[in-house]
Symmetry: none
Subunit: 166 residues, 4 copies
Amino acid sequence: MISKKVGITKSSIYYHFATKEELIHRTFEYIFKGHYFAAYFDMDSVNKDNFVETLVRGGLNMLPSDDEDHRSKLRVLSEFTMLAERDDQFRAPLLKVQQDFLDGFIHLLSKGVEFGLIAPSNIEVSSKILALLIDNLSRCKMMKMEMEYRIIWEELIDRMICREIQ
Amino acid sequence: MISKKVGITKSSIYYHFATKEELIHRTFEYIFKGHYFAAYFDMDSVNKDNFVETLVRGGLNMLPSDDEDHRSKLRVLSEFTMLAERDDQFRAPLLKVQQDFLDGFIHLLSKGVEFGLIAPSNIEVSSKILALLIDNLSRCKMMKMEMEYRIIWEELIDRMICREIQ
Amino acid sequence: MISKKVGITKSSIYYHFATKEELIHRTFEYIFKGHYFAAYFDMDSVNKDNFVETLVRGGLNMLPSDDEDHRSKLRVLSEFTMLAERDDQFRAPLLKVQQDFLDGFIHLLSKGVEFGLIAPSNIEVSSKILALLIDNLSRCKMMKMEMEYRIIWEELIDRMICREIQ
Amino acid sequence: MISKKVGITKSSIYYHFATKEELIHRTFEYIFKGHYFAAYFDMDSVNKDNFVETLVRGGLNMLPSDDEDHRSKLRVLSEFTMLAERDDQFRAPLLKVQQDFLDGFIHLLSKGVEFGLIAPSNIEVSSKILALLIDNLSRCKMMKMEMEYRIIWEELIDRMICREIQ
DNA sequence: CATGAATGAGCATTCATTCAT
DNA sequence: CATGAATGAATGCTCATTCAT
């Protein structure tokens, strides 16, 4: 399938990749170079005033747009996830990506604490909730399920953070 | 692969299932006969006092134990999800299962409204958040990721519901 | 294919026929009970006046009409012919049928000699020519090739017989 | 079956032929490259004196010798004919071959008309008769049926053409 | 007579891989 | 770098046959 799309012979692919597994691994790496927390959430210019906005916008950025590039990225992620469930060797890079997002949320939420917007307790758990939900939301978006993605994401953020502000 | 596992010839399998697709569909049906909201959440005896408890326990019930039976259930679900992403014929049963859980959460939360434990607004969105999160939590459990499943689930419920009670 | 059409199980067919080959043989016999020279050519009432007419009509009778029954008969003949080319065991019954038609033509032509319509020389060869041509004509009809079947057949008879009459 | 005969794996065959159908088509093309009217009937040097001789010899050339090469040619033709009866995609090349022989006979007979050896009427029908008979004769030769092939063919030509000369 | 269940052999096809060039 | 040619293993499926019931 790949050799046809690329217009190269199967044999030639074996010059560049020793095995199918290596091809998969390196494809994953290549495609997910840009898939990390800081690519979606603007950590540099976050401040007390745009904190919630940053959180909201970052999540929405993560949801695959209909732009082909973004969708295929998510497509690869999803295929890779399936492989990981069958074959241990693919689990590690996936966990690394997930860990990055988890760390990202923790980092961002701790800024929220700095800004006095969130109570310092439970940041870890809150981060996991946010990470798990946005992950599943993008899975749904990928499957083209109709959903009020923005509203759901905003509501969760509201519940997890904003209520505390008052 | 299957014929080897069950110690039967491929041909014999084709005596019982006309096509690969039929095999998949019927396996899905068989395995998910018992996978529906009411099987995990005790809707009959829920009342004002045990409402939160019912929610918490139901979610924890959904998380796969390490018991092989439960794990294989999730394994099939995950393979089926992959197929659904590629082939429409497998999408329908999946959506039906997901809809059942969503409806279940809505039903349960509306009981919470009856009990005066939840504000009537936003029940739909809250249900989706709960459904999406418990779904992703069981995916994680399946992949044997280490996580404080109970704490995360309780915290989400606390955020979505209990805060309102006061 | 057969068991589905008949509405019986494959196993049941094996009660009636020991092997596939026997099924084929007996099907051939059953279907070609009525496929013999005298069934198409009216040998009983042939006389000097209707001799040519009998020859022409008989040949046209042999050409498969669009009537399903007749066509399926020819269909079986054709499949059987193919088998005969691969497998010797099917050759004998076929040759018997062909021999019957050849004998029929010889018999009919010798009546023509009796009637003084044909010169006695070469009856054998003439019979073979007629038999070979009508055989190939019905093959063509079966394949639904467009052809002036009647004209071709009449012309051949004219060439083989009538010219001699003058 | 084929891969065993040629001592190659099935997979290797699929390297050279994309599908079974392509294999069949290309085999047919390869084998029947040389099977056309002009390959058997010497159209270039035909003249008034050798006209009948050319017709006779051409037909005899078409009859498969016992030489394996020629027999396999007819074997392929027959299998292909069977396929054509079931599947339209194989009908076209067959009809093309048959049309070529028909056209050939028409062309040759019209030379006969030029030479003043045949009456101009009915050339089309005569050509079909000749084509149909020589076709069936080679079928019979293929099946190793004992027959006076030469005598039959000469007699038909005599009937179709020579009688007119006087 | 008839069926259900199973099986071995085969077929059309794909895929990961190898290897000589 | 790239290709052509080949291969073993697998997959989805059909078919002729068997055998116990």
